[in-house]
Symmetry: C2
Subunit: 153 residues, 2 copies
Amino acid sequence: MKQDSRLARMIHVLIHMALLGGRETSETIAKMLNTNPVVVRRTMGALKRKGVVGSEGGRGGGWALLRPLDQLTVLDVQRALDDGQVLTAGVSEDHPTCPVERAANAALVGAFEQAERTLLREFADLRLSTIAEGAMKDLPGSPIQTAHGDHHA
Amino acid sequence: MKQDSRLARMIHVLIHMALLGGRETSETIAKMLNTNPVVVRRTMGALKRKGVVGSEGGRGGGWALLRPLDQLTVLDVQRALDDGQVLTAGVSEDHPTCPVERAANAALVGAFEQAERTLLREFADLRLSTIAEGAMKDLPGSPIQTAHGDHHA
DNA sequence: GAAGTGCGTAACATTAATTGTTACGCTAAG
DNA sequence: CTTAGCGTAACAATTAATGTTACGCACTTC
């Protein structure tokens, strides 16, 4: 499949919006995301419904953050984009009445539910302000940052 | 996307093979999975390369388990099917040099790595023999089993 | 109040991954 | 040497995410 990158993109954009401070049009945001204004409206529309951003039409309009970054977690953004499960188990549906198939599926679903709990806990702990601070350290002149630098494992 | 159900299918099949005890042809297995012998060969081929099953050509040939179910974990099967990550973060690649994008991606990758660690731990703890026992309880006459019955959360 | 700017959304095209299908080669048993 | 069965390449079908075009509606400004 083609990977779903909406969460990453929205986090990216929301931080930029906070840094810029004002109102951004779908076209401006589309350039940040190297895409199309329609895609931006689609995705930002979901954030609007959950009160993360607001939009204004007409001249001078655009999108604006409704909360400061330190009151926004990755979980908030994820939940705005999708209420359902983040991880899904990839079960089989070849013989839905077969006890073996059902037991296999149930086992996998259980394992993924555990993993999802971990993921959501991580998401809830990740404030966008923290990510923004991390970005400041990764500027020309600083040593290269890997993606694995700061776990709290 | 279409979900990858190879893991669920292989667990399903391996348990059936153990219960049947002998050698099964790709065609027999295909019927269990409600699919095609070629699909079976493709997927079982991966298990063969990792020593989980063996295959024999010619008359009387087919596939056979090389290990008892209590010495096979879901993790073994997953690893046979795919050496890489089970969970992937869905990062954005719109402006690879943008520090904000990189920080956002890194944060997500970190969170998914945590979740993957949980998932692999669950997989490692799940023996196929345990799943097989669970299937025995889910037979006509028994009360209906939900998919959420037996976590150790 | 007319025009321009910008969001909202439907409809369709594109891209990618999984799965299904057909065809053919090779091996081992009988 | 015929049959049963695996091994694999090649192609079609299905599905999900993303990209794109087109058009409607609201608000601002002149």
